[in-house]
Each structure stands twice: as C-alpha cells, then as structure tokens.
C-alpha cells in the first residue's frame, strides 16, 4: 500500500501559508486620505508644509493620521470621505499652486505585513471608479512635419554644393527631387546621400529625377519617439492633475492608455490631455501700418495673426521666433502686483534665455508679441469611395496673439506673460507650458468613466455572487459526497486563498468585475476535479475494490482526465488575455490562476486530507464516507 509522500504535505502547507499571508492585506479596508505632492517632479514635501497640513486639519477639527511618505508624496489618513473632500479644499487653499492635493485611499495593512511586501490586490477602474482614456497619436502630422524638415535639408545640401534643382517635392513617405538634366541629377546623388542618411536613394528610369524613400527603421524610430514623447508629456500632465496611482501606458504602435482612478470630472481631464498648446515669442513688425495688416496679405518675412483681446485685430509679426514653448523650464500662475490681473511667470532654459537676451537687447522700445498656438483634434465624418462613412481625425490649429508688450529692458531667463482672460486660463496655460507640449496631436478614441457609486455596487455585486455561488457549491458537495465532500470544500476554500494571494503577489495583476466572475466560475469548475476523482472511487468500490485501492485508483486514473480538462481552459485563457482589453483580461488572469490552483488543491490538497483521515493507523479502512 502506498504511503502518501511527506514532501507533498509540506509543499501544500507552505503554499497555503505563503498565499494566505499575501492574501491577508485584502481583509483590511482602505481608508480615505489626502495625498500632497510637490508640483516640481521628484521633490519631497518639506517638513514645514507637512506641519501646515496638520495645522489646517486640526483647525478644521478633523481627525487625521500622523501622515506618511509614499514615494515622494505625503499621505494623511482621514476619517470619512466627507472629510476628505473638505480637507482637499482647505489644504489646497492653504498651500497654493506649488503643491497638488489629491484624494486617495490608504491601505490599512499592518506594518508587519507591509514589511514582507504584502499589499492588497489592485482594483480595476470598474471596481473603484475613475476614468479610462485611450488616446490615438496622430502619426501623419508627425511624419508630415519631419518630411518638411527633411525636404528643407535636401534643398540646403543641393544649394551648398551649387547644384541647380527644379524642385524637391514631398510625396507621402518619399522625397522627389527634379533636376534640369541628367548631369545635375547624377551630381546630386552623393550630397543627397550624405545629407539624408535616413533615406534610400533611387533614380527613376530615363528621367532627371531622384526619389528618396524613407527607411522603414527610421519611420519606426520616428513613431517610437513621438509616442514616447507624448507618453512622457501626458504623464507630466496627469501628475499635474494630482491623480493618485494614475496609469499612463503605451498600447500598440500608436496608442496611449491613461487611467485616472477616482477622477469624476472627465471633462477637465479630457481638456488637459487632448490639448497641445505652445507659445512663441516673436517681434511685432510695427514698421507696417494697420491698413497693411487689414489687407490680410503679409509682407515678406512676416505673418499676420489675430489679436484675441482686441476684437481679433490683425497684427503683423516677424516670421522668426525668439523663443518657443519647449524652451520653458518652469511656468507658474500669478497675479500682477498692481492691477491684480492674472499672469504666468515663465522661466526659460539657457538656449531660450540667450536668444531672448540677444534679441531684446537690440530691440528695447519695440513691441514683442506672445503667440498662442493650440492644436485640437476632432473626429470628422467623411464618406469614402465605397460610400461607407468613416471617422478621421482632423486637427485644427488656432494661432492667436495673446499679448503685445513693449520691451522695457533686456529680458533674460525670467519674465511674465500677461493678457490672459481669467485665473483659470492662466493656470491652465502654466500647466500646459510646465508639462511640456505633445510631440503629436492626440485624439481620444475610447473613454470610459465609472462613477464611484457604480464601482462600489460592482464590488458588492461581485462579492455577493461569489459568496452565494460558493455557498451553494459547498452545500451540494457536502450533501453528495459526505466526508469526501468536506475534503473538497476545504480544498475549495484553500483554492480561494491561493487565488487571492497570487493576485495580490503579482504586481501587474488587477482585479476587475469580470475577474471576479472568473473566480466565481473557477469555484464552480474547480470541484470538477474532485467530482471526477470521487466518481471514479465510487465506481472502483462498486467493482469490489477495497477502499485503499479504490482511493489510489481513483486519484491515479482521474489525473489524466483532469489535466486534459484544464489544459483546454488554460489555452482559452491565454487567447483571451492576448485578444482582450482591460476588464476582460482580468477575467483571463483569474481564470488561469484559478485553474492552476484548483488542480493543486483538488488533487494534492484533497489527497492529503484523505490520507490524514483514512491513511493512518495500521489497519486499512473498511468503509469510506463517499
């Protein structure tokens, strides 16, 4: 008669204790908290500010925790969600623009659990409420802009070499250079190849025309760069919004996922995310009269823009820029000391500052304009040649002068922008300048907002169906298989502990509502292994085997069938994970983990229990309660 190997007992115990330990943090509820972080990225919240926070809360008579450092932010626990909203307002008023105050939930995991790295499961947006955005990066614009620049480079290279050309035209991903004759075309090959290593050069037959095709690798680099740049810029903006535990992730070749847990006002988030705004500082070409501007035809070397605050009066500006928005290192909203009107205090980097200094020193007494450039992308419906309606992104760029001021003195790295409508506009402009501009326009192609009440309802619904479903299965197994049913039930509970423990352990795993459904479903399916084994044991008993043998046979012969059964579902879970998005992936994850752990508990777990009950003692059992 086989004795059950001892190492399996230990393995079982170790797995259960380990998972139990890591599942434990989920029992402790989260408490409302406010999170304070410095506006400048990576900076810690100084002790003086922490004291101010505590003072503010004390004055308002709110109970609060001592506070703790989370990454670089300062987290203070509060008593209720009502306090939370009020506390945010009060602290935000007190600290002003330099700090971002966000609502958050603080886990109440005890210290000893945190010491071993245990933390509760991540909850998906459908369970905690929040906004999910999927943004599409408009690659065509990026590529178009780069192609313009490359065509300029090509022309410059040809001019430098003294080669006469008719035209360098852009044709999609190609540049087409046309020459007067074959000789010029041949001469142009070497300099073009040198100037544009990103392109592959070929010559059309019998024509003085060279075609330069953009290399696939360069195109890919360009896309990667644009998406990565956008991701960084979006990340900065999200941080500026003060959302705790936000996610900004790249998805596929040209998309970015932004998840903002707890955010209720999707419209503000949308405005901040989707906009690309930048500034240009230019000299006003005031040698031309207002009549000249009114004709709408710009004199050479200049451009005409509307002046927003003065009924869109046209203003003629020099084409060359003194400095641009991407040279801004810091921007803060403020108020003019005398007039009290809103303004943005800007700091430039060294390149921008040098240029600003050079130009302004030569132009004291002349006017300088701040040009505001905003790109918005809308979806436009067009009808294609097959008569099918499709939506295509269409970018519109607004350019207008927001401020014209006489240069009083040589400007350096610090100056201010006035002429803004409202404090809100000033703070938004400051935010956009600070957070950096997007490399390419983005469109929102998917948006999901889940209110906090729905999140709570979903959690309740998930838990309720899980508890009920589980209870039904437990009762059924007990009634049908008696003592062996108890074994299966213990295994089922162990299975649940393992799933929760593993879900809490994997850092990327997120529990969603379909994820809960996955757990519920595995609960129902997990007992299949035990049903198979037990039915086999019953059958062997009927066929006249002795109990010990029947148990051995039952476990051994059912094993391949169980494996078979579970492999099919695991394959499906993997497919689902690769094809699905967000919440459905959550289902695939719990299904996969659930199946693995159910095999473990249903085979090794119940066997251990069976052996403990029937395997002890010198005499073999004469009867099984099954």
């Amino acid at each position: 008669m086989t004795r059950y190997p001892r190492w399996k007992f230990f393995l079982l115990l170790a797995v259960l204790l380990g998972c139990g330990l890591y599942a434990l943090p989920n029992i402790f509820p989260d408490v409302p908290a406010v999170q304070i972080s410095a506006n400048a990225a990576g900076e810690e919240v100084p002790a003086s500010v922490r004291r101010q926070v505590a003072e503010t809360l004390d004055q308002a008579g709110m109970e609060h925790g001592p506070g703790e450092t989370v990454n670089t932010s300062w987290l203070v626990r509060l008593d209720s969600t009502n306090d939370q909203l009020r506390a945010r307002q009060l602290i935000s008023d007190r600290l002003g623009d330099d700090y971002v105050v966000a609502l958050n939930l603080a886990p109440t995991t005890p210290q000893w659990l945190r010491a071993v790295g245990a933390s509760p499961m991540n909850l998906g947006l459908d369970l905690r409420g929040g906004v999910h955005f999927l943004l599409q990066v408009d690659m065509e614009t990026v590529i178009g802009q780069r192609m313009e620049a490359w065509s300029g480079q090509a022309k410059m290279a040809l001019r430098d070499e003294g080669i006469r050309y008719r035209d360098v035209a852009i044709d999609g991903r190609k540049l087409v250079a046309t020459f007067d004759d074959q000789v010029a075309a041949d001469a142009a090959r070497a300099p073009l190849r040198k100037a544009l290593p990103e392109f592959t050069l070929n010559q059309a037959e019998e024509t003085p025309r060279l075609t330069l095709t953009l290399n696939a690798s360069t195109l890919e680099e360009l896309q990667d760069y644009a998406v990565e740049q956008n991701r960084t810029a979006l990340n900065n903006r999200v941080n500026e919004l003060g959302v705790a535990e936000a996610v900004v992730q790249r998805q596929g070749a040209d998309r970015i996922v932004v998840q903002l847990p707890g955010v209720q006002d999707a419209s503000q988030a949308r405005r901040i995310l989707g906009r690309t705004a930048t500034l240009e500082f230019r000299l006003v070409a005031d040698q031309y009269s207002a009549q000249r501007a009114a004709t709408g035809i710009a004199p050479p070397g200049t451009e005409i823009f509307p002046f927003r605050d003065q009924n869109n009066r046209p203003v003629i500006l020099e084409k060359s820029k003194i400095a641009t928005g991407d040279q801004v290192t810091n921007a803060q909203m403020g108020f003019d000391q005398q007039s009290g009107t809103p303004q943005v205090n800007v700091e430039l980097d060294s390149t921008g500052a040098r240029s600003m200094q050079r130009v302004t020193s030569k132009n004291v007494g002349n006017p300088m304009a701040v040009l505001f450039i905003e790109t918005k992308t809308d979806m436009k419906t067009v009808e294609d040649e097959n008569g099918e309606r499709r939506q295509v992104p269409e970018s519109t760029t607004d350019r207008y002068v927001i401020n014209v001021a006489t240069i009083q003195d040589t400007l350096g790295s610090r100056f201010r922008i006035t002429g803004l409508d409202s404090p809100a506009e000033a703070s938004e402009l400051a935010l956009l300048l600070r957070a950096g501009s997007l490399a390419a326009p983005v469109t929102i192609v998917e948006e999901r907002t889940i209110g906090p009440s729905l999140g709570r309802e979903n959690i309740e619904a998930g838990l309720k169906s899980m508890v009920l479903g589980m209870a039904l299965v437990l009762v059924f197994m007990l009634l049908w298989y008696k003592v062996f049913g108890i074994f299966a039930n213990i295994a089922l509970l162990g299975n649940l502990v393992i799933i929760v423990g593993v879900m809490s352990l994997i850092p990327g795993a997120t529990l969603t509502l379909p994820g809960i459904a996955g757990i519920v479903l595995t609960v129902g399916m997990a007992v299949d292994a035990n049903v198979l084994i037990y039915e086999r044991i019953r059958e062997e008993l009927r066929n006249g085997r002795r109990p010990r043998e029947a148990i051995d046979e039952g476990y051994n012969r059912a094993f391949t069938t169980i494996l078979d059964a579970n492999i099919t579902t695991m394959i499906v879970a993997v497919i689902l994970f690769s094809a699905g998005t967000g919440s459905v992936q959550g289902f695939a994850v719990t299904l996969f983990i659930g199946i693995l752990s159910s095999m473990f508990t249903a085979i090794i777990g119940t066997r251990a229990l069976v052996e403990m009950t029937y395997g002890r003692g010198a005499r073999a059992p004469s009867k099984l309660s099954i």
Binding site: Q136, A266, S267, R270, G274, D378, M379, T381, R390, Q391, I444, V445, E446, E447, R448, T449, G451, S453, L454, E457, N458, A461, S465, L468, G469, V473, F476, M477, W480, L513, P514, A517, V520, L521, G524, M525, D528, V531, L532, E535, E539, R542, T561, D564, A565, I567, T568, T569, M570, I571, V572, A573, I575, L576, A579, G580, T581, V584, F587, L591
Partner: protein
C-alpha cells in the same frame, strides 16, 4: 461496468435528438447570417451613458427629450432597476465624439428627475472595428487551437465528433443571442471562449470513457458500449455542470447588469454543452460507423503489400 446501477438507454432517442441538433445549428446559422448579433458598444463604437435617479425614471419622456435634442437614434433602456437608465448613442456627427456622453447627460438632467452620472463609455468607431476583428480572430484562434489539441489527443472519428460537439455548442449559443437580441459585448465573448474550453473538456471526458470501454470489453455491440460509457460518466457530467450552473445562477441574480449577459451565455452554453457531450459526440460516432476495429492496434500492412 456496474451491474448495480440502472442503465438509461440514451442511444434510443438518438435519431430524433440528432435531427433536433441539426435543425438548431442550421437555424442558428441562418439567424446569424440574416439578423446577425446585437453587437454591444465595444464592437460598434458610440457612446453609452448610465444615469441614476432617486426616483423612477419615465423612459418615454427620456426618449422624447433626447429626440428633441437631436439624438433621434438613441437607444434608451432600463439598466437593472427603474431608477437607472442606460442610453446608447451611435457615433455622432457634428459633436466632438468624446463629448457626446456629457451632452446626453445635460440634455436629460432635470427633465426626467434629479440625475447622477453613473457611467459614460465612449468607444471610437475605429477602436470598435478593431475590437471586432480582434475578437473574431480570438474566437477562430481558440477553435483552431482546440482543433490542434484534439488532433493530438485523439485520432480520426473521435476528433471529428468532439470538434463537432464544440461547434454545435458555440453556434447554438450565438444563435440564441441573435434570436433574443441579447447584447453581445466583450464580456460575452469572454464567456463564449470560456465555453469553448468547458465544452471540449466535457466531451473529452465522455469520449475518453467510450474509447476506454471499447478497448477493455469483450462486448462487440457499439450500442451497448457507448451507452455504458455515457451512463458511467453521467453522474460526473451532471454534477460538474450542476455546480458550475449553481455559481452562474448566483452571478446572474447578484452579479449586476454587467455580468448578466455573461452568465446568460454560459448558462445556456453549459446546458447545451452537457447535452452535446452526451448526444452529439456519441451520435456522430455512430454516424461515422465506429466499431471495435477502430481501437485495435493497427498492423503494419504497407510492408506486406510491397512487392
């Protein structure tokens, strides 16, 4: 085989049930081809808004209000209770796509009661198309991989029978979704994929036992062998399906609106799957003319035939 248990003659009704299965599958295919599925927001694109009120909401009034505001093609439905309303709007022209949700909410607010915005989902038409393609691909891939698995696992007639049972289940579930206009979204797709795994597993257990009994018995009548195998696995088949259905019923009643379609798909699927693992597999085995010879270790005839 046990003598103590009562045998049910499953194969007695096999012809009638076989015809029923064929009719159901053909009917489902016709439905899918003509009516198609009532695709959810995930696949069509558009905007879905869920609002909550402290009092009952008058749906007719909500519809009328939306119509007047230019949302003529809005689909307005109760969402779980009479105080929750779900409004689905196809992709709109003229309004910035991602702001439709806000517009719908503003249109209704105050008109049909004090409303609270519970959920807004906007899926761009492009994303919808992609999700649809991706999901179709996932479905085909799952079926394809199951085919490969079965091909390794079984040979000839058994492979065909189990795969047919699998297709039978999936097609009938999809057909029912088409017939009743139940919304088909990503979570339902997840349910259908889970069903594929479940259904195959169910059939494999039965097929395995049939194969085992063909090898281990002196009985020569396939009728008796197959019937015996089905009877032996019957308790297991029913018990497993029963426990799974228990949790699905819990999910159906308490899982909320999101899980309703999911649990519906699986409840139907597992019911059909249980039937098909008993009947479709065995039925097809007969139709394909399974006999004891199929399980004899083949002799290497080719060598003898060589000149």
């Amino acid at each position: 085989m046990s003598g103590s248990k009562k045998m049910i003659n499953f194969m007695g009704a096999r012809k009638v049930l076989g015809i029923m299965s064929i009719c159901l599958v053909i009917g489902s295919i016709i439905l899918l081809a003509t009516r198609g599925l009532n695709l959810g927001l995930d696949f069509t694109g558009g905007t879905n808004v869920v609002v909550e009120s402290s009092t009952d909401i008058d749906i007719a009034k909500a519809r009328q209000t939306l119509e007047q505001a230019g949302f003529e093609d809005a689909v307005v439905q109760q969402y779980g209770s009479s105080r929750d309303l779900s409004i689905r709007v196809p992709p709109q022209e003229g309004i910035e796509a991602d702001q439709v949700g806000q517009r719908v909410f503003q249109t209704l607010e105050g008109k049909v009661g004090e409303l609270q915005l519970k959920q807004v989902e906007f899926v761009g038409p492009q994303v919808g198309d992609e999700l649809r393609d991706q999901s179709g691909l996932a479905l085909l891939m799952a079926l394809g991989l199951m085919l490969v698995y079965v091909w390794f696992r079984f040979t000839n007639k058994f492979g065909i029978a189990t795969v047919a049972a699998l297709l039978h289940d999936v097609i009938i579930v999809l057909g029912l979704f088409s017939l009743l206009r139940w919304p088909f979204d990503l979570t339902v797709l997840a349910a259908v994929l889970a069903l594929i795994g479940y259904s195959l597993n169910d059939s494999i257990v039965v097929a395995d036992r049939i194969r085992e009994n063909f090898r281990n018995t002196r009985e020569t009548d396939p009728h008796v062998i197959v019937n015996g195998a089905i009877n032996e696995t019957l308790t297991r088949t029913i018990n497993t399906s029963f426990t799974t259905m228990l949790v699905l019923v819990a999910l159906f009643f308490f899982g909320g609106e999101v899980m309703r379609a999911f649990s519906e798909a699986l409840l139907v699927g597992i019911f059909v799957g249980t039937y098909s693992s008993i009947y479709v597999v065995a039925n097809l085995l007969f139709t394909l003319g399974v006999s004891k010879e199929d399980f004899l270790i083949p002799e290497k005839e080719e060598i003898d035939e060589m000149p």
